[in-house]
């Protein structure tokens, strides 16, 4: 039996407050949440409905010029130089005057992610923990996304599609673990889109995938779809081949290489395909692969609910396709969150961390706060679910 009320809030209060620090990629997010002590969380699997109140959700993104990716060292520098300022701002927004009295737990991203940026944030987290005498919880970034998604959408037991710059996984809960049913064998979907955006030299603001989505909408030859490699392998998928292929097409397009029959009419030399069409084709192809492996996982676990999390999850076309798939299933439903929550943020780390904390999980030795680039979703023991 799951009892989320095992560890009582500080100072006899009837609510918990958690600070969440996220910095596993190019976004630095600080969040403060409040969860009331509820009778409903005494028993049963109610971890998706904690009545979480968001007191602060601040994010700052390290942005690079068009055509450039972000380096770990520059990203780490961004996080180092902004971290304390953002924490201060978040605390002020959450009206927390005395953290050592008000905050129950500090949650930080332990991984997976880029080592240097993760490390920059954990240094601040450890320091805060020691000066305020508040316990620390290390959170798996993916679990953070899942728990935030569940809390926002109230999806009880969905199949989770986690799609971001560094991750592509289809996850389903079973016996106290978020099991990975399918995943990318090479690059992540967000990374694939980012890199294609770099090839096209389109801006990184607000983020590259968003701009690809906007361009895809403007595709002029939607019926004449460029067929890209479709690389679903069982439950897994791979994307590097697709990227290489479409990068080649884009380069030929820029060079006006009339020999490319996909792009130019071999007789008239007329251009058949635009850059927008390529964006459209890439999205259609990649998303079809994602929806397919999600559907397979759903068939395996007999679930009709999908929760899309991660930065790429804010793509409306992906949501639409997932919806079409779910519509063909009895009571099928797709849940997605808006960019405040599906793009990396501190609130989600606080949400998952607070669940962990309420189940009695606390770091007692700072040696256990070491961050790690590779931290698989299924390594986490999910004590807060049945």
């Amino acid at each position: 039996m799951v009892n989320l009320n095992g560890v009582k809030p500080k100072n006899g209060r009837n609510y918990y407050i958690a600070l969440g620090l996220e910095g596993s990629a190019n976004k630095l997010g600080i969040g403060v949440i409040k969860q009331p002590l509820l009778d409903s969380t005494l028993t049963g699997d109610n971890s998706h409905d904690c009545h979480t109140e968001i007191l602060a959700n601040i994010r700052d993104t390290y942005v690079t010029p068009p055509g450039e990716g972000f380096l770990p060292r520059d990203t780490a520098r961004h996080h180092k130089n902004w971290c304390v300022r953002l924490i201060k701002k978040a605390l002020a927004e959450a009206k927390i005057e005395n953290p050592s009295i008000d905050i129950d737990v500090i949650c930080f991203t332990q991984g997976p992610g880029m080592g240097a940026p993760l490390h920059s944030v954990v240094i601040a987290a450890r320091t805060c923990s020691l000066i305020w005498d508040v316990p620390l919880i290390g959170v798996n970034h993916c679990v953070g996304h899942i728990e935030m998604g569940r809390e926002i959408t109230k999806a009880v037991n969905p199949v989770v599609l986690y799609v971001s710059g560094g991750n592509t996984q289809v996850i389903a809960y079973s016996e106290n673990r978020y099991r990975i049913f399918g995943e990318t064998l090479d690059i992540a979907i967000g990374n694939c889109l980012d890199r294609f955006a770099r090839t096209l030299k389109i801006p990184n603001i607000p983020f590259p995938g968003y701009n690809i989505e906007q361009m895809a909408k403007k595709a002029q030859h939607k019926d004449n779809l460029v067929l890209l490699p479709y690389t679903v392998k069982g439950m897994d998928l791979s994307m590097s081949g697709i990227l290489a292929f479409i990068d080649g097409l884009a380069k030929d397009l820029f060079k006006k290489n009339k020999k490319n029959k996909f792009l130019f009419d071999s007789k008239t030399g007329e251009q058949l395909i635009t850059v927008e069409d390529l964006c459209f084709a890439l999205q259609e192809n990649l998303f079809a692969m994602l929806v397919e492996i999600t559907e397979r996982a759903m068939a395996h676990v007999n679930s009709n609910q999908v929760l899309i999390v991660g930065g790429v999850g804010s793509n409306l076309r992906l949501q639409e396709m997932m919806g079409q798939m779910c519509a063909d299933r009895a009571n099928g439903k797709v849940h997605a969150t808006d960019e405040r929550f599906c793009i990396d943020n501190g609130v989600m780390i606080a949400q998952a961390g607070l669940l962990q904390y309420r189940m009695g999980d606390v770091i007692t030795d700072l040696a256990d706060t070491v961050v790690t680039q590779k931290f698989r979703t299924d390594e986490v023991y999910v004590s807060w679910r049945e």
Binding site: L118, H119, I180, L225, E284
Partner: protein, 322 residues
Amino acid sequence: MMFLNPALPGNRWALQMKEKKISIRSNKLLIKLLRTLKEAQAIITNITISKMSVELVELVNQYLTPNVPISPIAQGAEAIVFTTHVHPYLPNEITKDIDTNKKYIIKFRPPKKYRHPVIDKSLTKHRTLSEARILSKLFQIEGLKVPRLIAMDAVNGYLWMEFLGEDLPNNKGFSNLKNFLWMYSSDGRDPYDKVVKETLFKVGEQIGLLHWNDYCHGDLTSSNIVLVRDSNDIDNWIPHLIDFGLGSTSNMVEDKGVDLYVLERAIISTHSSYSDKYNEWLVKGFSSVYEKQGKNGSKKLGELLGRFEEVRLRGRKRSMLG
């Protein structure tokens, strides 16, 4: 080799890049395990036609016309399977002599609305063709038993195959390996009966043949092995391998080891009390195929069983973690 920043946090996996691949494999195993367990539950309930099926069954009916009455028997994410008594093309004059009670399988890969039509058409065609191809190739292997392909419409995603198996006596269900083993472990029968031993040995032989010829099934559970009773000898059950939707050609020991492990887990999860012996017999049958191939066969068998053990350890470690 990349020099790692000494002052940055150590990554405990950084030097073990193999780990990722191993984890991926193990995940697949877990997925299959979960499915086996689900299947055990599903056997009791009949196939429920979801909202999806109603529409799709209508689509199939339109395609086949009322002249081909069908009943759905299975539905996966990728395909729906029906049975019918109607042969797709043989004139009655011909079929009536063969068998009036003959059944056929129709496997249909429905279009997916979420996919762009160009992608959808290309995938359906490609996958239907590739399953047909693998079935045909397997059909030619001496001693290997797979269903016969009767007709194909790759563009529309239809495969017709012969129906194999029968209903077991006393309502013990359809004659796949799982139900067969259950039959022998109930009603006071001997779960270690000679017939069981012989049948499992023959199942092992089938998998041995498959692997020896460098094919992998990809989804080898006890419900994907159908037993066909010899018309002359009621205790002679001839195992046939079905559903090659995830089948592939592969000469990798890893794929074969996973195939074996998946089947072992299926046996353990559904027939746990007797699984030790059962798996032993399976492996004996499997090994016999390789051992017949002389030195090279024995060498390959050694490698394969070694990997099987490795996969098994990985799987166990994984499921016990935390």
